[in-house]
Symmetry: C2
Subunit: 336 residues, 2 copies
C-alpha cells in the first residue's frame, strides 16, 4: 500500500519492481557512447514508415512489444498501459500502442513522461489497482523539430544552449511482486516557473523543477544526497545540469559527485555536434530503460534517484509571450 511521508513523497511498501524494460534508438544514438547498450537500434530513422510521426509511433510499438517479450508475459497479462509523448495530442502513443489491446491512460508530462508513467504505474501496482502496468514514451528528432521549431530542410543554425531531440523510446513492465529493481518511493513534481522564456534553453527552464523535486524528496525522507550511487536527471543536458548542481548547492546539498543526466550520457558532445546534449521524452526513456536498468539488474547500481524533467510549453504559448514552466517527477529505485 502506498504511504505518504513528509509533504510530497509516497513510499511504496509492496515489492513493486521493474520486471523488464526495453530502450531503443535511432542511428545517431546508435553511434553515440551508449550505442551498444540499447536493446535495438535502427539505421533507417523512418523505420520503414512514410512519415516521421508514423516512425515515432513505430518506436513506441517496438519498445512496448520488446519490453513485454523480455518480461516473459503476454499483452493480456498487463492490466493498464500509461504512455505519452511530445507530439500534438500524443499521437505517437495512441497510434503506436493501439494494437496492444491493453487499457490505456494517456499521459502528458513532456520530457518527464518516462518518470511520470513509471510513477503512476508503481502506485497502481502497489495498491492492487493493477497487477502489472506498462510505461512507455518516445521522441523523434524529425517529428519534434518540425513541430516545435523549423522544417528539417531549413537547416537552421542552433544556439550553444540548444539540445538535440533523441530519436528513441523506452518501455518498462512494472510488476506488483518482484525480485529486483524495486521502486521504493516517488515524489510528484510541481509546475515550477522561474520565467525563463528562451525556447532554445530548455535545460535552464527545467533545472529549477528538478532542484525542487529532489530537495522535496530528501526533506520528506531524511535521506542525504550522498546515500545514492547515482542521482540521474532526464534531459537537462550540460547547461541545465550545471544549473541544477548550483541550485542544490545553495540549499547545502552537493550532488556534484553522483549526478548525471541522460542528455549528457547519450551523445558524444563534441564528436556528435549536439551542443548542450540530448533531450526529448525518448532521451531518458531509451537510456533509463536500457543502460541504467541493466546496471541496476546487474547490481552495479544499488540505490538511485531518477528525476525526469519536462518543459510544459507549446509553440503557441511561446509565441504568445508565455514563459516555460518546468516539472520533474522522481523515483527512488533500489537493486534489491
Amino acid at each position: 500500500m502506498p504511504e505518504r511521508i513528509g509533504k510530497r513523497t509516497i513510499v511504496i511498501n509492496n515489492k513493486v519492481c521493474i520486471r523488464a524494460a526495453a530502450g531503443i534508438a535511432g542511428h545517431k544514438e546508435a553511434e553515440g557512447p551508449l550505442g551498444q547498450y540499447f536493446d535495438r537500434t535502427y539505421s533507417d530513422d523512418k523505420l520503414g514508415q512514410n512519415s516521421w510521426e508514423k516512425a515515432e509511433s513505430q518506436l513506441q510499438t517496438d519498445a512496448a512489444k520488446l519490453a513485454v517479450e523480455k518480461s516473459g508475459l503476454k499483452s493480456s497479462d498487463i492490466d493498464v498501459m500509461l504512455a505519452g509523448d511530445l507530439l500534438n495530442q500524443c499521437i505517437s502513443s495512441t497510434f503506436g500502442l493501439r494494437s496492444l489491446d491493453i487499457p490505456f491512460l494517456g499521459q502528458f508530462g513532456a520530457c518527464s513522461t518516462m518518470a511520470q508513467t513509471l510513477l503512476i504505474s508503481s502506485l497502481f501496482c502497489d495498491s492492487g489497482a493493477c497487477r502489472r502496468a506498462l510505461a512507455v514514451t518516445s521522441s523523434h528528432f524529425c517529428s519534434a523539430e518540425r513541430q516545435f521549431r523549423l522544417p528539417i530542410e531549413y537547416g537552421g543554425q542552433r544556439t550553444p544552449t540548444a539540445q538535440w531531440t533523441v530519436t528513441g523510446a523506452g518501455a518498462a513492465v512494472i510488476d506488483s511482486s518482484g525480485e529486483d529493481s524495486f521502486i521504493k518511493g516517488v515524489t510528484i513534481g510541481k509546475i515550477t516557473d522561474l520565467k525563463i522564456k528562451d525556447a532554445n534553453n530548455m535545460g535552464a527552464a527545467m533545472a529549477p523543477a528538478a532542484a525542487d523535486t529532489i530537495l522535496s524528496f530528501l526533506q520528506d525522507t531524511g535521506c542525504s544526497a550522498k546515500d545514492f550511487d547515482l542521482i540521474l536527471t532526464g534531459d537537462l543536458g550540460y547547461v541545465g545540469s550545471e544549473l541544477l548542481i548550483g541550485l542544490l548547492k545553495k540549499e547545502g546539498i552537493d550532488i556534484s559527485q553522483n549526478h548525471n543526466d541522460c542528455g549528457k550520457l547519450i551523445f558524444d558532445r563534441k564528436g556528435q555536434d549536439v551542443h548542450a546534449g540530448g533531450s526529448g521524452c525518448g532521451c531518458c526513456g531509451s537510456v533509463f530503460c536500457s543502460y541504467i536498468i541493466n546496471k541496476i539488474k546487474k547490481g552495479e547500481l544499488k540505490n538511485i534517484l531518477f528525476a525526469a524533467t519536462g518543459a510544459l510549453m507549446s509553440p503557441t504559448s511561446s509565441q504568445q509571450g508565455e514563459s516555460i514552466p518546468g516539472i520533474a517527477h522522481l523515483l527512488h529505485i533500489t537493486a534489491k
Copy 2:
C-alpha cells in the same frame, strides 16, 4: 483499497467521494438549457485575456479555485492535481493551474479527460497515495476551432454530423473519506478503432469505445443496465448516442430509456444551431461538475454510470490518412 474484478473493472472499497465540484461555461452555454445550473458563466468568452488560449487557461484556473473553495479546503490540503485538455501540449492545464502550487500529473485523454482524471484521482485516494485530489479539464470553442479546423474568421459551413466545442471547464475535489457522491468503481478504456476517418463525425468515432467500456463494466460486475438511474456519456452528441444505443442493443443491452449524453444536454439543438450537439473536454467537464453532481448530491440521481469518450487524433494524423481511434473511461457513482 482498490480491488480488481472481472477483466477491466476496479472496485473502490473506501469511502472515496466527490467532495465538491464546479462547472463553468461561456455565453453560448449560458444561453442553453443548462444555463442556470453552471456555477459561473461568462458574457465575455475571452475572460479578459488577450488570446483564446489564455482564456481557456483562465477557465481552468477559475473552475479549479471554485471547486477548492466549495470544498471548504485550501490548495495546500490537496496532494495532487490531474488535468488535461485538447490544446497542443495541454497548455490550458499547465498555465491555468500553475498558480495553485499543487503536485501535478498532466493527462491526455482528449474529451474523456474528465472521467480519466476522476478515475486516477479516485484510485489514488482509495489507496492512500493521496488524501485528496483535484481533477480538472477544459475546452474553448475558439481555441479548438482554430487548432483543429479552420480560422474562426473563415466562417466555414459545418456538416450535419459536426459538433460544437463547448467553452467551459469542470473541476472536482476527490476526498478519501466522505458522506455522499461516492465513486464505487472504475473501468479503464481501451483504444478502440473501427477505422472511422471523418473528422466531422467524432460521435461515430467514439461510440464503439463507449459501447466497449460500458459492456466491460456490466460483464465484470454482473450489473444490468437497468440498475442505473442514468448512463451518461460525455460528448457523443446525437449521432454518436444513437450509434451507442444500437451497438449495445446488438449485445442484448437496452440503454435507450436511461441513457443521456452531455453533448445533447448542454445545447438546444435547433434553437442554438449546433448540429449534432456539444463536444470537447469542457462539455462533460462543465455538465458533470455542475448539473449532474448537484442532482447526485440532492439524491435526485442515486446510481449512475459516467463514461466520457475521447477521439485520439490530431490534424497531423488525419492529414496523414490515419483513422480516428476512440477511448472511453467509466465511473460508477452512487449518491450514498
